[in-house]
Assembly symmetry: C2
Homo-oligomer: 598 residues x 2
């Protein structure tokens, strides 16, 4: 458990006292500024004195070795991302901090379950190693669901499985805060021993939840099992029930799952102490163009929310929920993580958020410093994948064949219905043409083939089914980022393009690929586990922008096709998903055929 | 760090899930009731299911092995006393719980610094032992200031001194939450090594504050040193500054120090997550007649405060501040500590609080059960003092002589000015008659003699000075309860009565004594350290009532003369105090003569 005012030695503690009393100059003083107090909810005037990484004085007059005119700003606590999969930024942690720190994020709570699904315990160790000694404070929740469903269900194939005893080996690591999102809520509700063991192992620590749509007595059971949070509410009513049942609601604005508009009405003076904000899965393009936690704050301000509430949710509330007692407030003894902000128009908060500067432990966050730290890491072990990425035999066109169930000229099929900007899917029905005994995708109806190829063990296992919502008229999109097992997934207008896309993915050893069906391919290679790369976030954002444009040229109508594709294999999010083992009816939690019985 | 939903074994965790889902009956169901949700601030309807000491379900329908009609009640979280010296109840912990649990208190955070001042480390060990396996959850903050001032200042003599290394030996005890109130704020501000060492030793845990009147940069320094709370604010303005500086304000209503009227306006929807309630020092009579934490809740309701705010401050806010993640809310996974309450008139909350039943870990708190547990302890080690109580030579009338400074017929003296219902004193001046070279107390001016005799080491050290405010016309009052060093203190209308009172105190080996100056004495013996007794709280309250009546018959005008007397030796509370070493000017933090220079 962290605490406020942790000092390196007794001498440093005594020095904090002297500086706070004004007997010795502070390292830094923000003069004549105002700050948001998350205890009283007021915006208060005065100097802010910072020394050795801690805030040592507020509301009084101070002198510092460095002084900054703070009259134009309001100082607010640095933003805390309560739940993030850094892998979804496609960046290694040292590159992730380059992307998010200038936007005001100073602490994140990471569930590294993407790399854990690829590389297991070695992946978790890689993650813990990769977030050591960063400017950004990265705390880790140990992944509870690797793979996302119980292995005995055989619904999907991950690169690794993590048992309670695997997690036990990392429980005491200083960066570890608790157990990450318990996605296997059906397993929890049915008392699966694996789930119970993990919950019991972490019962003295925070245990995160993930329970889209869970309500009533089943939601009670989830809380009674020790779950303290959930970031999966999509409706206000659902979120309100969770809050009323003592579950910290984390309002998420990812690239795919965007819940802020629905859930922000939950926030008021009372609840802002127990509601947090998170990004979950957010791509580098959205972070670059819209923001990170700052984006939710900005949105809330524009919607007319009180600054005191959204800024508290963005900081202190999450710090308290996770036992991070040393941060989240602008007050003596708290870590000097803060942002200099103002209303965008300088006057009215409902004009939105402008971030003018970010400080981490009293140091100004500078682009050059972050880039420098990244370069220092590039050659180091943290930039290297903990194992081989893609174990896949050469892919052929006939691998995508779907044989019709009867001799009829058409075939009824189950279709995954993509919902734009959501990771929930619909379970649809369509009728497709049959040619030479094979069911054919139909771009006119926008019912296309989708396939998942197991990529971790070289098993050759694959599944082909149908999806609606991508709008591709030609070509294909493939990626090795594919929640949570991260097998290779591909959607395409024809089998040849799909095969070409997967072959290119194999060639670059993981990443994101768009092929146009005429021989041209564009790609973002992701050499760390087929999930992350060690490149400047702006370069990655630009490459992604190019890939999105390429997809649009192929007819793709989705705003973010890659992340949406990446969630179609996650069999813990309703309703219909596809894994390497076939179509999964998530509501029934069982595999189903893509073909309807005649 | 505690967490919600801690289970004895994995099987119990799985059982909680089954019961919450309704697959198995709960131990107890409160049917058709309403409860206060401290997350949303709403009062919500539904059943509450309790199993194996935890709440497992709310807001839904349940069946239980025991069912209770809850329609007439609102269920609120059990009250948490954020800061208490159990010794001030004059009761051992097992008797204290008998007094407070039926009033709704289910958890207390104890600083056992009274017994620590008498018996040092042995006293702390006694305290930890005495609160094991009680029905009441008693957490301990280790006493930071034993004695209350640095020994090198030689301002007072305690029975023991506790160094940082003494405290280190008990730091890891499972009942220990952190470091108790840092009363030596002058020592903190001046960087006293002993204070710094203690703060540093506990820097990963909560460190309580105690800083009456501290403001401005000095208050910043207090927070920068790691202090997270203060219960010593007496004005709203002072409390507001502390809150704004990130210090949890604990609103106190003791027997002597009564701050609720002044501080309750601090409480609103926003701050009710960071403001706590405490009793600090409260005698058994006030607890029996007015209530405990329930008294502050009742007062707040009568003043028109929103139930959601006062009930959150009484429970969840303190639980959060001290890292007690398992309690303070009515929600699945939280410990089943709760009260069945209603407005006193059944309709309007501003009629005050009625407590109809209290549950601890799902068990109804019953007077008989508590009495039974007390009887079980009476013969046990916890009821026995950890050492001898009173080491004092026989007291004689001439021990109280004060020689005048000059030959004049009168003498200017410094006088401790007692403020009714406060532990702050005024530093007054008076002129007293001199007879045969001795300064004489003057009951007409109500300026009486007061004396402190060292009682721990048999040193014979004593001090005599003057006090205004008791109003005694004859007789004397003496006690071995005398914060914080707990030497023997006596106030009286004449020297003979004072000597008789101390002699009687010696005779009963510690307690509270009233002598009428005509040979009659009444007493409450306190055989545990001269501070506590192992008797039924009602008997103790009745005895105290008798003693108060006896004091009133002697002319005493104070509502609570014994506690007020007990705080006159505490040299960390301004302005003028008396210890065995003499008068202390607390503002200047130095000893002063009772006599003014001519």
């Amino acid at each position: 458990m962290t605490s406020k005012a942790v000092h390196a030695d007794p001498g440093a503690l005594a020095e904090s006292i002297r500086v706070a009393r004004g007997a010795q100059p502070a390292d830094l003083v923000i003069r004549g500024t105002r700050f948001l107090d998350v205890f009283s909810g007021e915006i208060l005037p005065g100097d802010i004195a910072v020394h050795r990484g801690l805030i040592v004085g507020t509301q009084e007059s101070y002198r510092g070795r460095h002084e900054l005119d703070g009259r134009a700003f309001v100082v607010v606590p640095g933003f805390i991302d309560a739940h993030v999969h850094i892998e979804s930024s496609l960046l290694t942690p040292v590159r992730f901090q380059q992307a998010v720190m200038p936007l005001g994020t100073t602490t994140v709570i990471w569930d590294p379950h993407e790399i854990a699904n690829v590389h297991g315990l070695a992946g978790l160790r890689w993650a813990l190693n990769a977030c050591e000694d960063l400017a950004l404070d990265v705390f880790v929740m140990l992944s509870s669901c690797v793979p996302s469903t119980s292995p005995e269900l055989a619904l999907e194939t991950s690169g690794a499985e993590l048992s309670a005893s695997d997690l036990a080996s990392l429980r005491e690591h200083p960066q570890v805060l608790g157990l990450a999102e318990m996605m296997n809520y059906p397993g929890l509700l049915s008392g699966s021993p694996d789930v119970i063991d993990k919950l019991y192992l972490f019962q003295d620590l925070p245990r995160d939840g993930h329970c889209p749509g869970l309500r009533g007595r089943d939601l009670n059971a989830y809380g009674a099992a020790g779950i303290h949070s959930c970031h999966e509410s999509t409706s206000l009513e659902e979120a309100r029930e969770k809050l009323r049942k003592g579950i910290h609601v984390l309002i998420r604005e990812g690239s795919c799952a965007k819940d802020a508009d629905s859930l922000l009405p939950l926030l008021d003076d009372y609840s802002s102490s127990v509601v947090g904000l998170c990004s979950d899965d957010r791509n580098p393009l959205d972070t670059a163009t819209e923001g990170h936690i700052s984006f939710i704050v900005d949105k809330a301000l524009r919607l007319g929310h009180e600054p005191r509430n959204i800024f508290r949710a963005a900081s202190f509330a999450t710090a308290q929920a996770y036992g991070l007692k040393d941060r989240g407030a602008i007050a003596p003894g708290f870590v000097a993580d803060f942002c200099l902000v103002s209303p965008r128009d300088g006057v009215h908060w409902h004009s939105g958020l402008a971030v003018h500067g970010v400080y981490k432990r009293g140091q100004r966050v500078g682009a050059d410093d972050l880039a420098h730290q990244a370069l220092g890491r590039t050659a180091a072990a943290a930039a290297v994948s903990p194992g081989p990425n893609i174990r896949l035999d050469p892919v052929a066109v006939h691998d995508f064949r779907v044989l019709a169930g009867t001799d009829a000229a058409s075939q009824g099929v189950r279709v995954i219905g993509v919902r734009p900007r959501q990771i929930l899917t619909d379970s649809l029905i369509a009728t497709l043409p049959v040619s030479a005994g094979e069911v054919i995708g139909d771009a006119q109806q926008d019912v296309l083939k989708i396939a998942v190829f197991e990529r971790h063990h070289g098993s050759g296992r694959r599944a082909v089914a149908f999806v609606k919502g991508f709008g591709l008229k030609r070509g294909a999109i493939a990626t090795s980022v594919n929640h949570d097992c991260h097998n290779a997934i591909v959607v395409g207008a024809d089998d040849a393009a799909m095969a070409a896309a997967l072959e290119h993915l194999r060639h670059i050893d993981g990443g994101i690929v768009v092929v146009d069906g005429r021989g041209a391919a564009e790609a973002l290679p992701l050499p760390v586990a087929g999930l992350m790369c060690d490149r400047d976030p702006r370069d990655v954002a630009a490459t992604l922008e190019g890939l999105k444009a390429a997809a649009r040229r192929l007819g793709c109508s989705l705003e973010e096709p890659f992340l949406q594709l990446s969630f179609l294999a996650l069999p813990v999010i309703p309703s219909l998903k596809i894994t390497d083992r076939g179509l999964v009816d998530v509501d029934a939690f069982r595999p189903v055929s893509p073909l309807l019985a005649a």
